[in-house]
Amino acid sequence: MHITEGVLSAPVLALGAATAATGLWLGLRRLEEDRLVLAAALAAVFFIGSLIHVPLGPSSVHLLLNGLAGLLLGWIAFPVIFVGLLLQALLFQFGGLLVLGVNTTAVALPAVLCGLILRPLLARGGKPALVAGMLAGSGAVLGTALLAATALALTDQGFLVAAKLVVLAHLPVAAIEGAVAVFVVGFLGQTRPDLLTCALPTATQGGAPC
């Protein structure tokens, strides 16, 4: 989801930038060396994900893959998604620098919320973990669409008009990303189950907060 430069009003841009800055600060504070490689890998996945297009009627929408980042990294998803969006804006001319704060917030905040809510389910492994993956993959996309619609509604459109346009367009993406997240979680459960359990807050165990 890339809202283009020049669409949103200044107050909406400022609110988005402030929220993104707060999220970045929280994420960077939690970023530890043992999560850095995973964060970089997910940033690369997110960066490339925008090039995977889903044909939809006369147009097409692209994958986001933000739910995975939120599920596996929690607040660290904010810097991960920020870097991905920044590079997309600079190298692909998707979105823009002025609207980067709003885009970061719209993509990262739902992902982080999904991650925080679904982490306990993820750490249980087995079918609950797959369900967590599906809910995070789909929920983060729908949350992003809703936030983008809210940003558009706050500028000049009615919420229902914007929500209809944005959310309906992203329903297929939500379904696909839910399936992708299920496969990724299943694969990680098979090969690196520690990544799923580490997603639980470990502050009480004295480890690095994930």
Binding site: M1, H2, I3, T4, E5, G6, V7, L31, E32, E33, L36, V37, A39, A40, A43, A44, F47, I48, L51, I52, H53, V54, P55, P58, S59, S60, V61, H62, L63, V83, G84, L87, Q88, L91, F92, Q93, F94, G125, G126, K127, A129, L130, A148, A151, L152, Q157, V161, A162, L165, V166, A169, I176, A179, F183, G186, F187, G189, Q190
Partner: protein
């Protein structure tokens, strides 16, 4: 149980991954809206398309005075991604550049500015009915020489102009899409390189922070 599920369905997973392969098209960036606007006679013509060359149907078009920001025209593209309207007299009187914007209402915006010197003179006809475009330098036919292009009936001129416009419509969209170069391999590899570099920088900074904080413990 989880492992067994994925081992048993390995073929299904591979098929699903393969089925998504056709979405991988680095040149396609359909979420980029493109616009092409031009003056034809006393009419403003606008065509919208997506980065893939797909038709931009039902895009909201707004024409503003580029200096003052006043809205002069508004409407929507048709199923062919076309919008045309007679330029209002206010636009001709002001002689100001026109800012033509197209949006899909979902956060995508494309705009183009038409310079003031491209606008027709105030004396040009600006009736509601479409005026025939000027056909200049028509080739003469030896058997039936025509001294003046005006001998062609306006209806015939209009039909020819319309036919040519329809014929070149796909070409216009292609040109529009080609003019917007999508991300290629260098940009993709470069972006991943930046991410690797940032991760390396983060590692250095985190280790330095760990070293400086260790003695104080």
């Amino acid at each position: 149980m989880l492992n067994n599920f994925f081992l048993r369905n390995r073929l299904l997973i591979a098929l699903l991954l393969c089925s998504t392969a056709f979405w991988w098209n680095p040149a396609a960036h359909a979420h980029r809206l493109l616009i092409m606007a031009w003056i034809q006679g006393d009419r403003l013509m606008v065509e919208t398309a997506f980065g893939t060359g797909q038709i931009g149907a039902n895009m909201t078009i707004t024409v503003k005075d580029a200096v003052t920001g006043d809205v002069l025209l508004s409407g929507a593209t048709d199923a062919q991604g076309l919008y045309e309207a007679v330029l209002p007299t206010t636009a001709l009187d002001r002689r100001a550049p026109l800012l033509v914007q197209a949006t899909d209402g979902a956060g995508h915006l494309a705009e183009q500015t038409i310079a003031a010197d491209e606008l027709p003179s105030r004396a040009a006809p600006s009736t509601a009915a479409p005026s025939p475009p000027k056909v200049a330098d028509l080739p003469s036919i030896p058997d039936h020489p025509m001294d003046d292009a005006n001998q062609l009936s306006p209806l015939l001129q209009q039909a020819i102009a319309e036919a040519v416009r329809q014929e070149i419509a796909p070409l216009r969209r292609e040109i529009l899409a080609l003019s917007q170069r999508g991300p290629g391999i260098p940009e993709i590899v470069g972006g991943i390189g930046w991410i690797v570099g940032l991760a390396g920088l983060g590692t250095v900074l985190l280790r330095r922070r760990t070293k400086t904080s260790t003695p104080s413990l």
